[in-house]
């Protein structure tokens, strides 16, 4: 098999896996967000889960050609970044609204890429 063909085949397999996994990732973000916004995230663990999913989408989305997905995730990332917002700090109403709006945008983008998500 020549390198170009091998690359194309592997690329398609990785792309399909990335798109398929969006279903599970959106669900995980939804669960984490529910805990964050309902005040059931005392240790900041759910916010951390949310941050890592968003950070991961920010990096990997554009790698697979989904620039808009990365762009939305990049705007959301600093609002959840534990280096900027300590886990023990309670998020204000305005912060929660901004995060929710961007999560909705991110969710819509995920759904556009994979309608099953």
């Amino acid at each position: 098999m020549n390198d170009s063909l091998e690359f194309d085949e592997k690329w398609q397999a990785l792309l399909q896996r990335f798109v398929a996994r969006l279903v599970e990732r959106k669900r995980a973000m939804g669960e984490a967000w529910y805990k964050v916004q309902s005040g059931a995230d005392a240790g900041g663990n759910a916010r951390n889960v949310l941050f890592h999913e968003v950070h991961s989408l920010s990096g990997s989305g554009a790698t697979f050609g989904f620039e808009e997905l990365s762009a939305v995730a990049r705007r959301l990332e600093p609002l959840l970044d534990p280096e900027r917002i300590p886990a023990d700090r309670v998020l204000g109403v305005d912060e929660l609204r901004r995060i929710e709006a961007l999560l909705d945008e991110l969710g819509a983008e995920v759904h556009r890429i994979n309608p099953a998500a």
């Binding site: 690359f7 592997k10 690329w11 990785l14 896996r17 990335f18 991961s56 990997s60 989305g61 790698t63």
Partner: protein
């Protein structure tokens, strides 16, 4: 000397696989992929990399922490060039990374078709610097 062995540390499984495919299939390089700084520290000395590539933002041990732990873990890793892969590529951010002893920074997202050439260019530049008179190894 030719660049052959690259240690690549990236926590995101999708990006890790893209990097592996890029470096192996497109670049014809031998790659040791690690999912965390801890795994890199465990495997690096035996693998004896010529170049180390680190994602900056990783849970538990980030790129800078992994860099200093790798340097401290083995005397033969002290002078191995390290490249950071990150979306943080503003001039002040890059300057901070270079101040840590990083050889260069590659912007994320990277193009899998050109990543091997970018790393080879960094490697070639580093090798040229090494053979300049008066430069410590």
């Amino acid at each position: 000397m030719k660049l052959e062995r690259v240690l690549y540390v990236e926590d995101d499984p999708d990006i890790r696989e893209v990097a592996r495919m890029s470096l192996e299939v497109v670049g014809g390089l031998n790659v040791c992929c690690c999912a965390s700084g801890a795994e890199a520290i465990e495997r690096a000395d035996a693998y004896d990399p010529q170049l180390i590539v680190l994602d900056v933002m990783m849970p538990e041990m980030d790129g800078p922490a992994t860099l200093s732990a790798l340097r401290a873990s083995s005397s033969r890793l002290v002078h191995v060039p390290v490249v950071f892969v990150t979306a943080k590529v503003q001039p002040n951010e890059v300057a901070e990374f270079l101040a840590l002893g990083v050889t260069d920074v590659v912007a994320k997202p990277f193009d899998p078709m050109t990543l091997p050439d970018s790393l080879r260019a960094i490697w070639a530049r580093f090798s040229c610097e090494l053979i300049k008179p008066g430069r410590a190894p």
